[in-house]
């Protein structure tokens, strides 16, 4: 099979924690954008970006809401960067049972950043537009994604299964599955 290259736009927010002034404008505008109707209310507790902040320790880390995690991590490490101690969670995007971040305050449902998806598309996510400190910089870059990759993955997976269970067993199972689908 011919490997086909496709172009894909990767959206990135470059976060410069040294430039963050801790004002939380990103949280304010995020919660406003996602209000219903749009911009009708404010509530940083609903925001999909959070500034993890500890002003006295000079810690300011804007973090975006990512995937929902069912369980919390088994261990939580600490990082020391430039003499400042950060909890691993300070960089984590997960909405998880170990913390209150990225959950709707009333329902507890997880929140996830959608890069301000809207129609028409915004030039930049609003948190970036409202960050005059330039701690949040929006970038788009194109990456070439090869379709072949998925084929390889399947092959690799099947190969691993064949090694483990034997090719015959795999063939039998495939035949059975084919038959049941037809039936």
């Amino acid at each position: 099979m011919q490997a086909e290259k496709k172009k894909k736009v990767i959206k990135t927010i470059r976060i410069d924690v040294d430039k963050c002034n801790g004002c939380r404008a990103c949280e304010v505008i995020c919660s406003s954008f996602h209000a219903s109707p749009k911009y009708s209310s404010n509530n940083p507790a609903r925001s999909r970006i959070r500034v993890i902040r500890d002003p006295i320790a000079d810690i300011y880390v804007p973090v975006y809401a990512g995937e929902y995690a069912v369980a919390e991590c088994a261990g939580r490490d600490k990082y020391t960067i430039d003499g400042k101690e950060y909890d691993e969670c300070a960089f984590c995007r997960a909405s998880c049972p170990s913390r209150s971040e990225f959950k709707e305050p009333d329902s507890g449902l997880p929140l996830k950043c959608d890069m301000c998806s809207s129609d028409p598309t915004l030039e930049q996510p609003l948190c970036v537009q409202w960050c005059l400190a330039d701690a949040l910089i929006y970038e788009e870059r194109e990456e070439e994604v090869s379709e072949e990759t998925t084929v390889d993955e399947l092959e690799m997976g099947l190969d691993a299964l064949a090694n483990k269970y034997g090719l015959n067993k795999l063939n039998e199972l495939l035949a059975k599955m084919t038959a049941s689908k037809k039936g």
């Binding site: 004002c23 911009y39 009708s40 209310s41 002003p55 300011y60």
Partner: protein, 672 residues
């Protein structure tokens, strides 16, 4: 549905330990807006004139501005109002930071404290759950330290804390309420909090704040942000740098303090050091700033970076704002390193950075001049820095001489006698002022100093340039994009204003023009104080992001109360008058309305009399500074008029008002 505001106040009776969530009347919002306006209404209604600061009946109100918690950039101020122990008048000190929006998200517009707790307590507000909790373990702790302990203890890293330090607990008359990077410092409101037995108010809120017309409101906010970006790239030419850009004076961003150190007074507001700023000083202060300053920081939802995290090796980290950077340094004739170090301790103790250094310099001047003696200062170090630490430690504990000094220069001088009043020379209405001593009377500033009821000049000035520009073409250029003026006539006032000659201070701007200018300046501050807007983006500045043309729209689209320029001005006039009415009911009169006698060397008693006479009329006040009955009724303040009539306030004989004291005090000018 209420927009922008929550429609509820939290009423806490500390004596009875009773907590109530009280719905507020929307008509009061229309009449007095919010923040300062509705605070003043509560004080008028519920604090009788004979109540003193430390009476249980005194209220301590933490009012969030009406637009706090909405999208409006820089709108985050808490307006704290009470009766001041220092002035015995209404104090309405304010703080930025993060507390007011958090209170709104918890579902309240104000926290109203009354009564007194017999034990030290703190208040924990978490949405609908409100508790009065024991704070005995926090007794004597620093204000910043307290906030840290409480966040950990409650396991609420996002909670916002307003706390007092030792000074508030011991009712120092210039104790502040500290809130991380901000503080409400003037008027001794921290002493009232301490007197009520409240160490801290901790807030966490996760509810929505709604606005009336979302799309229109967002557009207004975006315009403000665009203007902020524009001004950052285009500072106003021809003015000192701190006035050319927005924000509180950008004291944390710069190390070059030539202007302040050579133009403001050192010591007890006495000595001008015209050649202070040398290359060596420049290098040393730059190094201090670089070593100590970790980051420039902001208040809630504001792109300006007016504060800084200060971390001096060996001392706990704290956050500083604005001019306290220099007040200790200059009062002690010391250097920036000392200023930043003692400010750390002063922040934990919770004292006003304007009054505290001046009180200490005053004490040392009394010692120098034999009015106090070495016996009053047992064990005090010899060096100036050491003396300031020693005095500060005693003041906040009310130990020995500290107990007298804890009441401020006015009351300390009363107590000490022996001519000590000559040294409490930099006060207005009993409160210490910025250490400025100038030559020629400035009629605009004369009126602001005399009649301002914030009793602090930086909270009154703004909008109009502080002085004339020498060249006409520069003035024309200044006027070209000056769209913030409420009326074109202000441009003409400025165009014609010359540094010298016929159209210069003190006779130009004319008395009538001065009335217009001061009224505009004051009005903008009062509007900000109802909205919770920071003066650093608004009333403190010439050509600000917020102005008389967009502010009414913010109310209309945000709070859903129809406002235009006329209506907002009328409302501001109403509660400004109410503040005056409160102070009049507490005995304030024309005789109290004067700048420090030595503020200017060249004084003009006849002109000053004319300025006050005319301005009082302009404001609707009689010749003794009392709002007239007709004016009160016109403002819809009939209840005030009725009380004034009943109390016989209009029957008083107006004293002869030509200020003879000005003349007799002229000798004091030479002291420095």
């Amino acid at each position: 549905m209420r927009y922008a505001e929550t429609g509820f106040n939290l009423e806490i009776d500390l004596t009875r330990r009773n907590i109530e969530r009280v719905a507020t009347d929307p008509t009061d919002t229309a009449l007095y807006m919010g923040g300062l306006g509705t605070n003043a209404k509560l004080i008028w209604d519920r604090v009788p004139p004979e109540t003193d600061a430390f009476a249980p009946e005194n209220l301590l109100i933490f009012g969030a501005g009406i637009l706090c918690g909405t999208l409006a950039p820089g709108c985050n101020r808490t307006i704290v109002s009470t009766i001041s122990p220092l002035t015995n008048l209404m104090a309405f000190s304010m703080m930025g930071g993060f507390w007011a929006p958090e209170l709104k998200y918890a579902g309240y517009d104000k926290v109203v404290l009354r009564g007194k707790s017999s034990d030290l307590v703190y208040i924990w507000i978490h949405n609908d759950k409100v508790e009065i909790r024991d704070a005995s373990h926090l007794k004597g702790k620093g204000a910043i330290e307290t906030a840290d302990i409480l966040r950990k203890e409650l396991d609420e890293p996002k909670a916002q804390v307003s706390a007092i330090g030792l000074a508030g607990e011991n009712r120092v008359y210039y104790a502040s309420i500290e809130q991380g990077r901000s503080s409400a410092s003037r008027g001794g409101i921290g002493a009232v909090m301490g007197d009520k037995g409240v160490k801290a108010i901790v807030v966490r809120g996760t509810k929505d704040i709604n606005v009336a017309q979302p799309a229109e409101y967002l557009k207004l906010c975006n315009e403000v942000l665009e203007f902020i970006k524009f001004r950052e790239k285009n500072p106003i030419p021809g003015v000192i740098p701190i006035l050319g850009v927005l924000g509180s004076p950008q004291e944390m961003a710069i190390h070059d303090e030539k202007w302040h150190t050579e133009n403001f007074m050192w010591g007890n507001a006495r000595t001008r050091r015209k050649d202070f700023w040398t290359d060596d000083v420049d290098k040393e202060w730059l190094k201090t700033m670089e070593v100590s300053r970790k980051r420039l920081i902001s208040c809630y939802n504001c792109p300006l970076k007016c504060g800084a995290t200060i971390s001096i090796p060996g001392l706990p980290t704290y956050m500083m704002k604005c001019f306290s950077k220099l007040t200790y340094t200059m009062a002690a004739y010391s250097n920036l390193d000392f200023g930043l170090r003692i400010a750390q301790r002063a922040t934990e103790y919770g004292v006003d950075g304007y009054s505290a250094p001046q009180v200490m310099a005053f004490a040392l001047e009394l010692l120098e001049n034999g009015i106090l003696t070495a016996d009053d200062f047992p064990g005090m170090p010899e060096d100036s820095d050491g003396r300031f630490y020693w005095l500060l430690d005693r003041i906040v504990r009310r130990e020995g001489i500290g107990d007298i000094l804890a009441n401020g220069t006015h009351w300390a001088a009363n107590h000490i006698g022996k001519g000590a009043h000559e040294y409490a020379h930099n006060n207005i209405k009993k409160q210490e002022q910025l250490p400025l001593k100038l030559s020629m009377l400035n009629p605009i500033y004369f009126l602001m100093y005399a009649t301002g009821e914030k009793i602090s000049i930086t909270q009154i000035e703004g909008q109009f340039p502080q002085g004339p520009f020498p060249e006409l073409k520069d003035r024309e250029e200044f006027c070209a994009d000056w769209f913030q003026v409420p009326d074109e006539k202000f441009k003409q006032y400025f165009l014609d204003w010359e540094p010298r000659g016929e159209k210069s201070n003190p006779y130009y701007p004319t008395v009538e023009m001065c009335c217009d200018i001061v009224d505009w300046q004051e009005r903008m501050h009062y509007i900000d104080d109802a909205l919770g807007m920071c003066a650093g983006l608004s009333s403190f500045h010439m050509k600000a992001a917020y102005h008389i043309h967009n502010l009414p729209k913010f109310i209309t689209y945000g709070a859903g109360i129809e406002m235009d320029e006329e209506a907002i001005s009328f409302a501001a006039k109403r509660y400004r008058t109410l503040v005056r009415a409160i102070n009049i009911s507490r005995g304030m009169r024309r005789k109290d309305e004067k700048p420090p006698a030595d503020h200017w060397k060249k004084r003009f008693p006849e002109l000053e009399k004319e300025l006050l006479d005319t301005y009082y009329k302009y404001k609707g006040w009689n010749n003794n500074g009392i709002p007239t009955e007709e004016f009160l009724r016109e403002m819809g303040l009939d209840y005030v008029a009725d009380d004034f009539l009943q109390w016989g306030i209009y029957d008083e004989v107006v004293e002869e008002v030509l200020d003879t004291e000005t003349k007799s005090m002229e000798g004091a000018n030479n002291a420095g």
